[in-house]
Assembly symmetry: D2
Homo-oligomer: 291 residues x 4
């Protein structure tokens, strides 16, 4: 029974690119963290150390910075598509690629000063398989909380169940959402904040009977409003807020004082999609951390 | 030559308190990370394991949650003062205390839904030494950047100096600022955002010849505008943005494409104070990470 | 075009279990971080918030602790198999599961004292699909370095290539390895340290012409020596050590002084498998971060 | 009332130096994280941006790498002393300095291959004030645990006390220890592992009635055995392991199944010193995180 090389990819991870557009006095700042992954006819380097086909990861990094100068930095999706096409078209052994970009947000203070709000990041993962391309965009670390409008009851009770039922609890989560577009030719810069708003509004407006229900409602709302989105995948940890038991101190606690827990946490992951969505191909194959 | 116990303190670190004020339909959410440190006549526990004077750290934690219910959670400074006084007044062996509180910010989405912007935190450290109390408040992780308006030249060149002079560079830092109030009886909730604004405005408005100059300008501006602040201490890492060398690719780079570096980083720390400020006592003794 | 729920799972992540076996004075300490994920007939909770089928994640956590008492904690693989079978057999709606366990290592100091070496962790991910079960074990954060015996040359040079060729460089990486066993009934506690040794020995013994070659050699060596392993997947970041340019100071640098870089880093990921390995089914579907 | 500049320092933080001694085929690997802080006559740069006295932090970094080549890298303390003296002696405005070095440990696999155990780090902080020098060395992140031999009872009970007394609990902590030597001319490489062993042995051998007692015993043991150590400061978080309550499941729990908690945690900090130790001067002024 022989031993063979299976699926593989290689590239440069976390290339930190900051771009300043100075074409007007009101500078535009773009802050990206870029990872490139190449796939193709690279067996020789694994089997014998022959690197004749291996575009160095250092070269991939150089290409990122050179392209930023040559073409500017527009939307992360467009920049990723340009990079991926370049690697596939210019290097014969490269047959596929995945370009991942996280964008770090900055708030404007004046024409050339900025403050970074931290936390949340816009993400994109563009996958190439020969001529085909899939764009999966999203956001990560969007932390949201509701102080009411969340219940959890009616679940089965087995011999290990101690959780009381509740009709009013804090619901908090850190949303990671990724959605697959049905096209690679969209106004990504306009659609992103619109989807983000729908996610926030739906979290806020949904009276929750389970975090699963909130997750599905958020995914569904995006699909209902954005015809160019084929599917949405959401990963939502249940960041538990435990009601403090103040009875030993002769105090009640009418849903007012909570202990924010670190670990463990519930973790809900799900996919919402159109019944006749175009095939996902390998779009999700290398996207980390998703059902 | 004998061996003796020197300075010591003990307490409970990182008590995560989330408080919801439901007195109106527009809920008020307060999210705090609280650490208590007690000092006093605790030699016996160190020397013999006699715990008769040692208020358990678990009890300190319980007190935090009980006080949140009994008194509500107002400004972090006021909550810290109330906690510290309680420990000193109710426990004979407790002669001093330091109560540290970090506040995690939340942005309101609607009456009872919130999103957390991440990054920056408001901080306070209240120190008690018998009847005396000092309030040191501040903020941490305030990340700011200027795309122009920053120079660095005129520095000495020794045999190890290779850095070129520049009249236009990116200046970026993550501000940790702590300021000591000259009173423990102030409208802390009003003064905090005002000081934060002055720090941001001064960073933005200062044409910088050195990060040191920016640091001093920021501290001075706070002292000039806020008579109740006795001194300001600032720690500002220079988050280097290296101009990418694109000349190997036949490209110029007119301050447009930058490599954001992780390590190493410059680190500038300084204190700005009033000449006749009241004595700091032990206010800074246990405040981490400061010159 | 209808909108439907797709793949989904839910569970409790990062349940921190520490177990002490006191059956002899020489205590045995086991420190685990356990995540449970359940799959099955859970559509109702997503669509309507009906939780009649949803075994609470709190109950899953309780089960972990109760099982540790009832059955003890043996090898992580065996504990995961027992947990997974319980959820599938006792809860009708549960049709599949993934149980992930990371083990934190402890070194013994004496009969009941231990020190934790940090860093590296043993991992397992056991996947159930109805009656079938797959065991994927591995390790993560195994940081290794060679000061010589590593070359990199012969790679193509395009217009963005500046990297010089080298016949002697530092090679450093943080190995994440996962291997799929062809059986769920093995002496996991014996095979784990043996595979770990083979990985280390092969890293050490392989004269490297590319990190890809080292990766393949490590995977192949495991398959050659362990008939019960069907495939190995490896993710190996190239933790770059840049030779410091000391020429401005009139100094040479014969591979002696290096700058350890943080970001970016090369990232090599690959799979080595037996040609006639049993089918992987959904064993890898939810394993994070792998090609 | 005037506003003035107070205490200040600046430098380069986290210079990552890896040094390979190839003088024999059995390579010696040294992995350091170095921060330099300079103090002196630097008012002009803060007040007016005049940098004529400001040795660039980039130059400080270059000096680290050049010195590693010129002098090799011996013990961290010796390397720090050499660096600090250089800055003070070669730059007239520099009147004081603090050089901090963390050493990352590596275990040898063969003549030129190594594995990094992670976790624990050896540290040193060398402070210069004109001609004077103080050496404060230590370790951080030394995680230790005892499964028995730890009690906690006899503490006062106020209205907020709910903690039960115990005569057998898990005691776990992550030790940060720093000790001040009474000389800068010692065989630091020999004394370090000896002190580390005494800390571990004392943790292990002490029957603990309070973590405070264990802390003091550890500090005292170092002073008793090492005449060149003037004082020891220890920071020891109490990493709580909560006994799981299994009674709802009809199970007892005879100190066997524990929940490892993240936050909050007790935090014990204390100093043990010789009565007639030489003055500490500014040795501790800028050492982070210590009472």
């Amino acid at each position: 029974m022989g031993i063979v090389l299976g699926a593989n990819q290689y590239g440069k991870a976390e290339v930190r690119l900051v771009h300043v557009d100075r074409s007007t006095p009101r500078h535009v700042l773009t802050d990206l963290n870029i990872s490139t992954h190449l796939r193709g006819a690279f067996d020789a380097t694994y089997l014998t150390g022959d690197n004749a086909s291996v575009l160095a990861t250092d070269t991939q990094k150089n290409t990122v910075y050179a392209f930023a100068r040559k073409f500017g930095v527009d939307e992360p999706e467009d920049f990723a598509i340009r990079l991926g096409r370049h690697f596939i078209e210019s290097q014969e052994p490269v047959q596929g690629a995945q370009i991942e970009i996280d964008q770090l947000p900055w708030d404007r203070l004046d024409d050339h000063s900025f403050a970074r709000p931290g936390g949340e990041r816009r993400t994109t993962s563009v996958t190439f398989d020969g001529d085909q391309v899939w764009v999966v965009s999203g956001l990560t670390d969007l932390v949201v909380l509701k102080t009411t409008g969340s219940e959890f009851h009616g679940f089965p009770r087995d011999e290990y169940t101690t959780l009381p039922e509740t009709t009013d609890r804090i619901l908090a989560t850190s949303v990671t959402a990724r959605w697959r577009y049905s096209s690679a030719d969209l106004a990504f810069g306009e659609i992103y904040p619109a989807i983000r708003s729908v996610l926030l509004e739906t979290f806020s407006a949904t009276h929750s009977l389970a975090l699963q229900q909130t997750l599905y409602a958020m995914g569904r709302a995006v699909l209902e409003k954005f015809g160019d989105v084929a599917e949405v995948r959401l990963s939502m940890p249940n960041k538990h807020h435990y009601l403090a038991d103040l009875s030993p101190f002769g105090l009640d606690n009418p849903n007012e004082v909570f202990i924010a827990g670190d670990r463990p946490y519930g973790l809900i992951e799900g996919q919402v999609l159109r019944e006749e969505a175009p095939d996902a191909g390998s779009a999700w194959q290398f996207v980390p951390g998703f059902a």
